[in-house]
């Protein structure tokens, strides 16, 4: 094999101190997760020593009715709140992109609030809101008993969607819209055939973001959920408080796999992760505003 030339001045990735650093950070970020996944297959309750491969903790986790119920609840909440967040977020982005109106800066700023407000503050606000203003009826049939949690999740998810969609619309050539209108397309037709196709990638990124945010949320759900509306993170929390068990490892492994699959799908649809960093675009936002 030909000897590779010495690293160029800015090829930091090919310098060993940085490689070492990256490897260290990689181990730090991944070793706990990998250990968790590996030991979910270990045939021993306590020991770190490998006692043989088993799937019995998966069987246990999958036969744990309350864990499965919590998991189904989480997925349902994530799906519904993603759907609502997409609509509300896209509308908010359209309003800000399309119109000049009094109070626009105020609306824009208020929309950033759920993104920057500490989770705990939103959590207690939702607790008080559903206790005092809009008591969510007890004992509703599934999935309507999840309503309060879904509302809370939409409140913190849709501003993220709005940010992602708005960033995308900034690159839209307004002349296209005018051309469509000049050629006789109705408002609805223009929206459907000209604006939506341009918006589509950001809608996918936004959906991914909203889904993950909802699935991930513990704090806000913790304050809005009742005894019969337990989500997966809340259930795992109550299990973790007692002890570390391979059953939780198994359930966590399943969720990690789901996350990886979702990320892979989002990347497949989106292309380059550098542009898929929807969460990143959103996170970057409050400080990028002039």
């Amino acid at each position: 094999m030909a000897k590779r030339p010495a690293p160029g001045p800015l090829e930091y990735l090919r310098r060993w101190p940085l490689q070492l650093w990256l490897a260290g950070v990689g181990i730090f970020l991944y070793a706990p997760l990998v250990a968790l996944m590996v030991f979910s297959f270990n045939d021993s309750r306590r020991n770190i020593v490998w006692q043989g491969f088993t799937l019995k903790y998966y069987e246990k986790a999958l036969n744990n009715a309350s864990l499965i119920e919590a998991f189904v609840n989480s997925l349902t909440i994530a799906a519904v709140s993603t759907f609502l967040s997409l609509i509300l977020g896209a509308l908010a982005a359209l309003a800000l992109w399309r119109f000049r109106f009094p109070g626009k800066a105020g609306f824009d700023g208020a929309l950033a609030l759920p993104i920057v407000a500490p989770e705990i503050c939103l959590g207690v606000a939702m607790l008080v809101f559903f206790a005092k203003v809009l008591p969510w009826p007890q004992g509703l049939p599934w999935p309507f008993n999840l309503g309060a949690i879904i509302i809370a999740h939409v409140s913190f998810s849709f501003p993220f969607v709005a940010v992602v969609v708005r960033a995308r619309m900034a690159s839209f050539n307004r002349e296209l819209e005018e051309a469509a209108r000049d050629l006789g397309a109705s408002e609805w037709r223009t929206l459907k055939d000209v604006i939506l196709p341009h918006m589509a990638p950001s809608l996918i990124a936004g959906a991914f973001l909203a889904f993950t945010l909802s699935l991930d949320d513990f704090v806000i759900t913790f304050f809005t959920s009742g005894p019969d509306t337990v989500t997966f993170p809340v259930k795992v929390y109550s299990m973790v408080r007692f002890s570390v068990t391979p059953e939780v490892n198994a359930a966590s492994t399943l969720l990690i796999v789901l996350t990886v699959v979702l990320t892979a799908i989002a990347l497949k649809v989106q292309g380059d992760p550098a542009s898929t960093a929807g969460g990143h675009a959103a996170l970057d936002r409050p400080q990028n505003r002039p």
Binding site: P9, L18, A35, P114, I120, V128, I256
Partner: protein, 301 residues
């Protein structure tokens, strides 16, 4: 050109109406109630009288709570600093990586970020607890060492004492760094990625070393990005609830844990509301400081 709202009132209403309605009803009003409660007093079990009192805020100045505020800021600040030190070289390496490696490295940083926070915290518990992976490995090493020492006939090492890694402040900071590292790396990367590399090359060509180039060229140019990374890491770290709750000990309570206790156990909503809004104001101050910093950078001069 943006359209004036009056020229298409119907469309404007249809587009702005739903998100505005949702934002007001399900965000502004709940927050407003908390804000009002922070000036209220408990009357009986469930009644709260809005008396306009500042006593809840004054109570937060009690040394007991003031200490927790100071400690929370300290822990969040330390977390941010460690994230910056760990994350900067990572962001630098990603920025100047070849496109393919860049894609994979970004993905590697983002994947834990998408993984459930509770699972990541739980994974850390499994690593750190008394019977955790770290202690088990250390015990194994210790016993091996003990056997070796025994063969040499020097004497026994004594039983292994597991390290207390969990339920203390160390675990909280470690957990917060673990969780927030991607928050730091991604904004740093996007700032460094926008740098004009010819400036760096010029500096290196003209004989400045890597460290000097880094300190005198890269850091000043990337300062707005560094500032946003710092704020993005600091804000959630300051308000974190789960990490101190699960990894911390009795003296690692942070603001969020105190707020939770007022609402769920102590049933002192007005005081909890006041603490929530103090946390909100601290968040706003952090954002305002950062905005001021990046604005000053943007102005020529």
């Amino acid at each position: 050109m943006e359209q004036h709202w009056k020229s298409a009132k119907g469309l404007f209403g249809a587009v702005l109406g739903p998100p505005l309605f949702w934002l007001v009803l399900f965000f502004m009003i709940p927050m407003g109630i908390i804000w009002l409660y922070s000036f209220g007093e408990n009357r009986g079990l469930t009644e709260i009288a809005l008396t306009g009192t500042f006593s809840n805020y004054l109570r937060a100045l009690d040394p007991l709570y003031l200490k927790i505020f100071v400690k929370s800021v300290g822990i969040a600040g330390l977390t941010t600093l460690i994230c910056l030190v760990i994350g900067f070289p990572v962001a630098l390496a990603i920025t100047f990586a070849p496109p393919k490696a860049k894609t994979w490295l970004l993905l590697a940083v983002m994947l834990p970020f998408w993984t459930n926070l509770l699972i990541r915290t739980y994974a850390l518990i499994a690593v750190l607890r008394t019977e955790g992976y770290v202690n088990q490995s250390l015990e194994w090493l210790w016993n091996g060492l003990g056997a070796g020492v025994g063969v040499l006939g020097v004497g026994a090492l004594g039983p292994f004492q597991p390290l207390e890694l969990l339920h203390n402040n160390f675990a909280v900071v470690l957990g917060l760094v673990y969780v927030h590292l991607p928050f730091m790396v991604l904004p740093l990367y996007s700032a460094l990625d926008r740098l004009d590399t010819s400036l760096l090359e010029a500096s290196l060509d003209l004989g400045a070393g890597h460290l000097r180039t880094l300190l005198t060229i890269v850091v000043p140019l990337a300062l707005p990005g560094i500032a946003s990374g710092v704020v993005i890491t600091f804000i959630p770290a300051l308000g974190s609830y789960l990490t101190p709750d699960l990894l911390g000990g009795p003296d690692s309570q942070m603001i969020a844990n105190i707020i939770e206790r007022q609402f769920k156990r102590a049933n002192d909503w007005p005081f909890g509301a006041a603490l929530s809004f103090l946390l909100m104001y601290m968040t706003f101050i952090a954002i305002a400081l950062q905005a001021m910093l990046s604005r000053r950078r943007r102005e020529p001069g």
